[in-house]
Amino acid sequence: MNSSVIVFPGSNCDRDIAIALRKFGFKNKMIWHEDVELPKSDLVVLPGGFSYGDYLRCGSMASKSKIIQSVIKFANSGGLLMGICNGFQILTETSLLPGVLLRNKFSKFICKNVFVKINNIENNYFKNIKKNVLNLHIAHNEGNYFCSGEQMKEMQENNQIALLYCDEKGEVNEKYNPNGSSKNIAGIFSRKKNILGMMPHPERMIEKYLSGEDGSLFFENLLNNLK
């Protein structure tokens, strides 16, 4: 399986995700944002970080970069496109995903482990996954998901909500919401479920003794689903 990680000036989780993808069997290529063509890919990842120093709005500059037109074309033809953290912000700024990530409700950069509940498994990302609650890491200042009432209604009708902040047992409650996100949303899909945007970093949870293994579960499962 071939994957491509897009690198923007200011991306800083690009190598982490590349290590994770290679560890679980992807042949990965790093693609510079000024490139025009995407190589043949089964998965494209927009990594976490601070593309363009978060100027103007997080992800807004990256959403207009040269490579993005090819990424949009890839996603519109059904390709799997995943945005993690800043990558999620870029996906909303390109309008590939609805809504926007606002500044965290309590004006704090949040860096901690959280539990997220998988809300929809009928897609290539989570089909057959062995757990329905994952322990993952978040590190962001703008992770407060917001969208219009109409967009929320449409997402709920199309089962586009992917991940919800919860406790270790999977109870979704406002008290487990770290950043003020609408409905505790930590990740969403596009209508066709081929695009996934998520604030948590699965690539930071792939070493048993350093962090945890729920990221490993995610990547192993994703690769199996694509085989």
Binding site: L56, L102, R103, S107, F146, S148
Partner: protein, 80 residues
């Protein structure tokens, strides 16, 4: 020609920066502040002599990049 643009958060969008600034000002004994909303200001020097055309271009810039219309409103300040 210089054109200014003001981008503000829509009314129902949370503005934690505005809230923090208000609290800080109150801590500095500036009382009677009802509310503070933070926005952005752009000054665009555009090589275009026709006012209407210049405004049209700036409007397009706002819609495509300067403002995110899901959460923000923008106002183009007319050139002098």
């Amino acid at each position: 020609m210089k054109i200014a643009v003001i981008v503000t958060l829509k009314k129902d969008v949370l503005d934690p920066q505005g809230t923090t600034i208000k609290k800080t000002l109150e801590g500095m004994s500036f009382n009677n502040i009802n509310n503070i909303r933070q926005g952005k200001y752009f000054e665009i020097d555009i090589d275009e002599k026709n006012k209407k055309k210049a405004e049209e271009k700036v409007n397009e810039m706002c819609k495509k990049l300067l403002a995110n219309l899901v959460i923000e409103d923008y106002k183009v300040v007319k050139p002098e």
